[in-house]
Amino acid sequence: MYQYTEFDRQFVHLRAQQFRDQLERWQRGELTDEQMLPLRLQNGWYIQRYAPMARIAVPYGEISSAQLRMLAHIAREYDRPTPELLAHAQATQDQLQAAQPGLTLAAAPLKYGYGHFTTRTNVQFNWIPITRAADVMDLLASVHMHGIQTSGNTIRNINCEAYEGIAEDGIVDARPFSEILRQWSTLHPEFAFLPRKFKISFNGAAEDRAATGWYDIGLQALRNDAGETGFTVKVGGGMGRTPVIGTVVREFLPWHQLLNYIEAVIRVYNGYGRRDNKWKARIKILVKAEGQKFIDAVEAEYQAIVAQDGAPHTITQAELDRVAANFVVPALKPANLPSSVNTSGQLYQRWLQQNVRGHRLPGMRAVTLSFKRVGFAPGDADADTIDALAQLAEQFSAGEARLTHEQNLMLPWVFESDLPALYEAARKLGLAQPNIGLLTDMIACPGGDFCALANARSLPIAAAITERYQDLDEVFDLGPIDLHMSGCINSCGHHHSGHIGILGVDKDGKEWYQITLGGSDGARLSGPALAGKVVGPSFSAAEVPDVIEALLGTYRAQRKGGEFFIDTLRRVGHDPFKAAANAARHPRQAEEAVAE
């Protein structure tokens, strides 16, 4: 993985110092809340429902054991509410629950002392007091981490497909390009106050596992007929209130022009993107409104950058080589630890099938540890677990791990011969559920338990579905299903791209949930990126698990042979699924639901 240079190291420390200075000036009243807001957002600090939330970048998902240990330390020592704050928060959540008799699901008590893995490979903490924020940034800088541009109307943390450099279907290792783009975008003076947030995703493999169609800029690596490396550039994808799939604006952009071209896209956006309405400010709206005119403007700007400005950000071969040298295969040696696993047992075999992937190197495997388990929100890892992950990565994967889009953690350098011992260790940690890609491997945002934007809670829904589908025979029989849920229309839980999507909405202070069907993130299983369609009026939380069961029952009744959920849905259409969903409404609320 990328090793910081002295400059990089110094840079994150200086950034932490700058943030400390800003915090102190804010605390002294020299900066108003309004003036401080974008400054703290640009360092990953939100103020949430009850406490600040820190969003720490894990660029393109790569993380080392040393970094994991620091996250564990922060979770343990800093992610702690005062007893008064926790009591207040819990009481408020209890009131929310009590105000909706008959409509809710059981809600677990609020937790602290853990990190949350997000769909965009950030790690979030929910309880760090703002007075300790600067100390946390210093600690992070000491392990080459930061929260730079994990929020705000900036170029956000860069994402990659999780298997870059190890995938069997890899075309180009996109990590060096992601790192070059990370550096270029870091504290870019021109683009720190864009109309709205700006997200970029790379996919270096044949299969799109990076949801590139859903990004402000999606970059698909390819080689042209001459064997040269380049990227197909999609612009203007995004979720939110208006889901839009990105438009291809360049079929083949030579790799060395990547920065010059992206500069053109973002400059056009900075100049012409709407600033009058938050909901219309993303680049997707500009691309939709202007169509070819937007593409022409980008092309003209790009040509001007090349011809008039002298293309100053042309990536040199030397720079690509320098960065790429960080992404060579690390020194590998097997752990050779003893194990008493019954390797012919069904559970182990299922784990091999779901959680272990092929590798471009013979004898190696990529292993996903599942953070979808009973008693934990999707993607949550407490301090002890994160420490254990650091050790697992060290023992089994050359000290490297990767966060995945699906909120799990993957070990990229595992010897096939070490799989039984790794399985045993993962099982002890409760991270060996063989459910990767299956129904219970759901994506969920933190929702109304923590997030100030949320209209409804996600976690009780996720918990109820997780608990209901603990029978592995059943989950395997249901096959691959993308279940995504968001607590509000900001779509952090990517509900638009779920085969089944769940969206929290607020009505008169009560939590309701829209169900969508047929979305796709663009991966092979799901087909070209597509937004799901709403099945009808929203449901109460209590109804949602029954609706999910009804949808899955319809699939089982309608499927032919080994057909997957998404394929049955596309073949028979949404109507039988809608009918089943509506029939699952609880009688008590029938009147209320119809009245919409």
Binding site: L31, W184, T186, P189, R275, G310, P312, E319
Partner: protein, 135 residues
């Protein structure tokens, strides 16, 4: 960068030729029409400090249209955006009311260099040679 306290803004006694360019003006048209000729100072306005259009305008005026005079930031100009203004090509800034010029000056000492090229240093860090970097 010349930092001007809000109270110290000269009021009309100047003889400089000043051009104010709106955030939504087409720079290409202005430049092609010769309107930059003889201009000593261009003022770019920040209606809110979170409105980043003037950053791009300053970059283009410097880099593409070769404007060599003063580019001044006006409007909601706050301390924590001054460095990026400077890097985008601004050479003077009139601070919004209540901003402390001394705190403002301190911000310029923080970073020794940045990754990407800008109006002051067109080349990105990776394309600068060591002699340039020492400068």
């Amino acid at each position: 960068m010349k930092i001007i306290a809000s109270s110290a803004v000269p009021t009309g006694a100047e003889t400089e030729k000043v051009l104010q360019i709106a955030n939504d003006a087409e720079l290409a048209d202005i430049a092609a029409g010769g309107a930059l000729q003889g201009v000593e100072r261009i003022e770019l306005h920040f209606p809110k400090f979170t409105d980043g259009r003037a950053f791009s305008q300053a970059v283009l005026l410097r880099r593409r249209y070769g404007f060599a005079g003063d580019i001044r930031a006006t409007g909601d100009v706050l301390i924590d955006q001054l460095v990026q203004m400077h890097r985008s090509g601004f050479t003077s800034a009139v601070l919004a009311e209540g901003q402390n010029p001394e705190t403002a000056e301190r911000q310029f000492a923080r970073y020794s260099a940045f990754y990407q090229g800008d109006a002051l240093q067109p080349r990105p860090l990776f394309a600068r040679d060591s002699t340039q970097e020492a400068a």
